[in-house]
């Protein structure tokens, strides 16, 4: 405990810890339950409910109050002490509340949605584990643990995307998601390491506070001088790039966005919670945490990335036929807005949009879940071979699913950003501030806000297209199969309750009493950076009008095309259509540029290993073998040969002498005499 922690602080801290730990506890309990146990759903839901309440209490205690920061030594490595602690400020308590509040309806919804699954309790294990990771992520106070939760979030997302692991597409998707996230993780890890080396601490507050270490350091003469030490300036750029990479991976920004549409292979409730509302927003949250790292050019780059992603994803969403894919690209697009907001300095608007987006996107996904569920029923009841997510087969659900329809409309309007909805408040804020930002800059910086503007109209179009195709007109499947048995309903209260709750959260009163001006939203003002001044330009009036008028026009256009069937249709063979329909070919390009070369490199290196390194060893062995052979030959025929010669000489002498050793006395005598005689003769002759 570093500072004077009063009694209330202690309570808040305990509440926070409990809020974070309860889902983990639920996950552990569920892990021990039988696979099909229906109790699991209630365990998890109860846990998240309590978390939610505790989070609300913490929120109430901390919001707009001084931040609370406690930490304790986790372990010591060398002279460095690594701490673990909790940092509660406006941003973290907002996220804490947001995550638990979004998670609660999703949990309730899931109890019904996953009812018939074989691995019911596993689902809730994973879901609770995700909630734990996400809640931990938002309250943690140091970068090491932040990274840990950051990856745990990705891990639980991996588990949930691949929840139906017998589907090949699902496991491909979760692998892709994890690896792409890993790329971002590496960036984050590099950034953390660089920050650690530069400042010798992992503490987020010390690093990124108003007068934190990061703010105090300056780039000078190619050196990045901080209060503790200095590194080459390139390190700062690497750190920033690493964070951008991490954000791009987690929040599905260009160029690492391609995992998110694939991640839709997971259960829809998961998509609602993780891939629309919370986890993908973690990237934006990270940006919020480390915002002081970014200055000038870096922010512009961020804005470019966000803007481009928003635009690209919106264009792709125009032509997709998969219900969830449209929503996924819409999510990418909206996340692009948030990044754009961060880039243009609309820090609080960006986080505001994060919060509002969480509600309406979650709502839309839950709607999609219901629709898909019904389509699935139709498919199973009638033994059809169809894709239950294909919107070109749907239609006319307005009558059959009235509550769902209303929810979809409200969610859609919020997404488009029409007045009275929460989306209007946050999105227009970003747009207005983007225009303000580009004002003082070069002319072509204004491309960014203009593109953002265009994107918002595109958004209006695809949302309208989605709603019109799904809920208006006739049920198109009956055209192909006239004798369908249909039992389509909104479902029981576990479906309806979350929808209603989220619907209510999509309206302005939750965030602001003034439905028109975003500046007055309490959430916006609570997150304002110090020294932030709200501009007083004419944009505040022009932008909302332009955006909304055109949006309405676009919606009408969609209505004309899809409901009235006015003979106007896109050229489906055009370049732009194909580009959009094929999602700008990113997957193919990545596969060709990255995946194949990496695998190829792997194969090559294995070949290298087997043939060159091992080959070298074998060559050495062969050379040694040859030398050995040669020496063996020499040994056998020369050295040994010589020895054998000696030996055989001795042997033949021996054999010769042996003849005298015949055992015959006379022979011995003869030999003796012969020698004596020889001596005599010798004596005489000499």
């Amino acid at each position: 405990m570093n500072n004077t922690s009063s009694h209330t602080d202690l309570i808040l801290i305990t509440c926070t810890l409990a809020a974070v730990a309860l889902p983990l506890l639920a996950a552990l309990v569920n892990f021990c339950l039988p696979v099909k146990s229906k109790a699991a759903g209630w365990v998890s839901t109860l846990a998240i409910l309590i978390s939610c309440v505790l989070a609300a209490k913490v929120f109430a205690g901390v919001w707009n109050n001084p931040q609370i920061h406690v930490k304790q030594v986790w372990f010591t490595i060398g002279h460095t002490k690594v701490y673990a602690g909790i940092l509660l400020n406006n941003l973290s308590v907002l996220m804490l509340l947001l995550v638990s509040v979004i998670a609660l309806p999703v949990h309730i919804y899931s109890t019904a949605y996953m009812k018939h699954d074989d691995r019911y309790s596993r689902y809730f294990t994973y879901l609770s584990f995700f909630c734990f990771s996400m809640l931990g992520l938002v309250v943690i106070d140091n970068l090491v643990l932040f990274y840990a939760f950051w990856e745990l979030v990705g891990f639980s997302s991996y588990l949930l995307i691949g929840f139906w692991f017998t589907r090949d597409k699902a496991v491909q998707a979760n692998k892709k998601a994890f690896i792409m996230n890993r790329i971002g993780d590496i960036g984050l890890l590099s950034a953390i390491i660089i920050l650690f080396v530069q400042y010798r601490t992992f503490d987020i507050e010390l690093l990124f506070a108003q007068k934190g270490l990061v703010v105090q350091s300056v780039v000078n003469n190619g050196l990045w001088n901080g209060p503790v030490g200095s590194l080459p300036a390139i390190c700062q750029y690497i750190a920033v790039a690493g964070i951008v990479l991490a954000v791009a991976a987690k929040s599905a920004q260009f160029p690492l966005h391609t995992w998110l549409p694939d991640a839709m292979e997971g259960p829809t409730s998961v998509s609602a919670l993780i891939h629309a509302a919370t986890m993908v927003a973690a990237g934006v949250f990270l940006l919020g945490r480390v915002y002081p790292m970014f200055t000038g050019t870096e922010l512009s780059i961020l804005a470019c990335i966000g803007c481009f992603t928003a635009f690209m994803a919106a264009t792709i969403a125009l032509t997709q036929n998969d219900l969830k894919r449209i929503l996924a690209y819409s999510t990418i697009s909206q996340l692009g807005y948030m990044i754009l907001g961060m880039g243009v300095g609309a820090y609080s608007s960006s986080l505001f949009h994060l919060a509002t987006h969480a509600f309406f996107k979650c709502l839309l996904f839950l709607v999609a879940g219901i629709v898909i569920h019904q389509m699935q029923h139709i498919k199973e009841d009638n033994h059809l071979d169809i894709d239950p997510q294909d919107i070109s087969l749907m239609g006319g659900f307005r009558k059959k699913l009235p509550l769902t329809f209303i929810a979809a409309v409200i969610g859609g309007l919020a997404l488009v950003g029409l007045p009275l909805t929460s989306g209007y408040l946050s999105k227009d804020g970003i747009l207005i501030q983007a225009f303000e930002w580009s004002d003082g800059k070069d002319a072509w910086f204004s491309i960014i806000p203009v593109m953002a503007l265009v994107t918002s109209w595109l958004t209006a179009f695809y949302v309208a297209r989605l709603i019109f195709k799904v809920f208006f007109g006739d049920f198109r499947l009956t055209n192909a199969y006239p004798n369908l048995k249909l039992h389509v309903t909104d479902g029981g209260w576990p479906y309806k309750l979350p929808l209603v709750f989220l619907m209510l959260c999509c309206f302005f009163p939750l965030f602001s009493f003034n439905p028109i001006a975003y500046e007055h939203a309490w959430l916006f003002s609570g997150l304002k950076l110090p020294g932030f001044v709200i501009g007083e330009s004419s944009y505040h009036l022009i932008i909302p009008v332009v955006v909304n008028v055109f949006s309405l026009l676009v919606i009408y256009l969609a209505y004309a095309i899809y409901v009235k069937q006015i003979a106007f249709s896109f050229p489906q063979t055009g370049f732009f259509y194909r580009l959009s329909y094929n999602q700008w070919y990113f997957d193919k390009i990545y596969k060709r540029i990255f995946v194949k070369p990496v695998l190829g490199l792997g194969k090559f290196l294995y070949w290298f290993d087997k043939n060159v390194i091992d080959g070298f060893i074998h060559l050495l062995a062969a050379i040694a073998g040859c030398i050995a052979g040669a020496t063996a030959w020499i040994d056998k025929y020369l050295v040994d040969g010589f020895l054998h010669l000696m030996a055989s000489t001795v042997q033949s002498i021996g054999n010769f002498a042996r003849k005298f050793q015949s055992g015959k006395v006379q022979y011995y005598l003869f030999s003796m005499l012969a020698i004596v005689l020889a001596l005599f003769i010798l004596k005489i002759l000499i």
């Binding site: 840990a148 017998t166 390194i613 091992d614």
Partner: protein
């Protein structure tokens, strides 16, 4: 009775019991071995709990700071004019050894449990196994170079036979390759050892000594001797101390293994029976890392500092090269073997950085990899036992067939690829932090090495996830059809009991890294101080 001596020789004691028992009681051998390893584990834990920490227990180059020391003269020959030959039985531990010691004892228990599958020639197997056990523990405890070398060589022999007799189809090839590789290293090590012996004199007795701790003190080198710091002797035109360092480094690098001296590893792993694979990956590789820290760096610190860049480069190459190779494998065991190469690259990289974070991370990585590779190889053994096939392409959808097994595989894989919460994450992250820090702290390694290391982490995710997807997920489809389906039963109680402690330890070390860091910290700091005194 010194507790370390007891720890070292307990396996031999039980080995004698097995030796004396008739072969008809062969079913009891595994229980005897298990008892031996369990007792050993108990002692190791006792030592761990009684291990004192603090600045006065740093060890490394302070002989009086080692703990549980036993030093008795062993071989003392008066060689007349050549002086007195002094070889001590000198064992003791400091922070670097203690964690590895506990890890080794535990891995040995696991390896024993994995030996249940061994069916032939049990007596020989368990005798060799216990001999090996003694040798590896001895290596971690020995502080006399001669004793160290003896244990080091003693390890080789049982391993050779264990691979060569109980191994797979190409076991002779693998065993010979392993044997030659390691022998190649140790033969040269012997030369350096003798050179060091002739250079170093014990200040107390005045005779030459093999004492490793005294070899670290430059004052103990007699003037004009081969490895004397002051005399700048040369061997073949190169500074003698550099040659000595390189030779010792090669000997240990083969064990680690460092690319390009690694090719024995995949072959040895693939052919070895599961318990031997576990020991190989879990313990043997650590001896390489331990040797580099204790002996290479300890005795030749200034050379290590001067050539840190090359050490780091080799580490980086190992990380990336191993990872890419793992990506191209279709044999599960071979894939894991290459992943070991990659993971052990972090150890070398961390050591090369010569920062507290780097070396702590390296030791942590050794401990963590000890547990994780044990787990991985055990898991491979499970599936291999059931169907005698390990080809990744021959399996599909095991998740439905063997859910518990898949759960453990996922734990092991994710822990290995550095998921936070598991030990490997802390190890790798801090190794990289140390590497990055080294440029500012001591200027040894450039920044890009840390970045390359992170790419290794990414590739680790790629090959593990790919395997997971290919083998365990998707629709069930096996090469062996229904025969395999019957054979592939989920893991039994013994296997669960084996795997669960490993998983729990990996988790515990990830959540409470202080279990390791607290014990090693003083030694690491002493080592850093020692390195930078030069």
């Amino acid at each position: 009775m010194n507790i370390l001596t007891l720890l070292i020789f307990i396996p031999v004691l039980f080995g004698f019991i097995i030796m004396l028992l008739p072969s008809s009681m062969r079913n009891s051998f595994k229980y005897i071995t298990l008892a031996a390893t369990l007792i050993q584990l108990g002692i190791a834990i006792w030592i761990y709990l009684n291990f004192k920490t603090g600045a006065n227990y740093g060890g490394i180059n302070h002989e009086d700071q080692f703990q549980f020391v036993q030093k008795i003269p062993w071989i003392g020959l008066n060689l007349g004019s050549l002086g007195k030959m002094q070889i001590d039985y000198f064992v003791g531990i400091d922070g670097i050894s203690i964690t590895l010691l506990v890890m080794t004892s535990l891995v040995m228990v696991i390896a024993t449990l994995a030996s249940w599958e061994i069916k032939s020639n049990l007596k020989g197997f368990f005798l060799l196994f216990l001999l090996l056990d003694m040798a590896v523990i001895g290596v971690f405890c020995a502080l006399d170079f001669f004793l160290f070398y003896m244990f080091y060589e003693l390890m080789l022999l049982p391993l050779y036979f264990l691979i060569g007799m109980w191994g797979g189809a190409r076991r002779e090839y693998a065993a010979i390759k392993f044997f030659l590789y390691t022998l190649f290293g140790s033969v040269f090590m012997l030369l350096v050892m003798v050179g060091l012996y002739l250079s170093v004199t014990d200040p107390v007795t005045g005779s030459h000594t093999f004492n490793i701790v005294q070899m670290m003190n430059p004052a103990n080198y007699s003037a004009g001797s081969v490895f004397s710091l002051a005399s700048h002797q040369t061997i073949l035109g190169m500074p003698a101390r550099t040659v000595g360092f390189v030779v010792l480094f090669i000997a240990f690098a083969i064990k680690v293994p460092v690319v390009p001296l690694h090719t024995w590893l995949p072959d040895a792993h693939v052919e070895a029976p599961t318990p031997v694979s576990i020991i190989l990956a879990g313990i043997l590789l650590k001896i390489g890392g331990y040797g580099i820290i204790r002996i290479c760096i300890g005795i030749f610190p200034e050379v290590a500092t001067a050539h840190a860049f090359w050490l780091g480069l080799l580490g980086v190459i190992s990380i990336l090269y191993g990872a890419f190779n793992a990506l191209a494998q279709r044999d599960l065991k071979r894939m894991i073997a290459y992943s070991s190469v990659s993971h052990m690259g972090f150890v070398l990289l961390g050591i090369a950085s010569q920062t507290a974070e780097g070396i702590s991370g390296a030791v942590m990585q050794m401990v963590s990899h000890g547990f994780l590779s044990t787990m991985l190889f055990f898991l491979v053994g499970v599936i291999y036992n059931r169907v005698h096939d390990r080809d990744i392409y021959h399996f599909r959808g095991l998740g439905t067939l063997m859910p518990k097994y898949t759960a453990f595989v996922m734990i092991a894989f994710f822990a290995s690829l550095g998921l936070p919460g598991f030990s490997a994450f802390v190890a790798e992250a801090f190794t990289l932090a140390g590497v990055f820090k080294s440029h500012t702290d001591n200027g040894l390694l450039p920044y890009w090495m840390a970045i390359c290391g992170t790419v290794g982490i990414l590739l680790g995710a790629a090959y593990f996830l790919w395997t997971l997807q290919r083998m365990f997920f998707g629709q069930e489809s096996l090469k062996g059809g229904s025969v395999w389906k019957i054979a592939l039963t989920d893991i039994n109680l013994r296997e669960k009991l084996t795997l669960a402690p490993l998983a729990i330890i990996a988790l515990a070390l990830g959540i409470m890294p202080s279990l390791v860091f607290d014990k090693i910290n003083d030694s690491v700091l002493t080592l850093i101080q020692f390195l930078h005194l030069k």
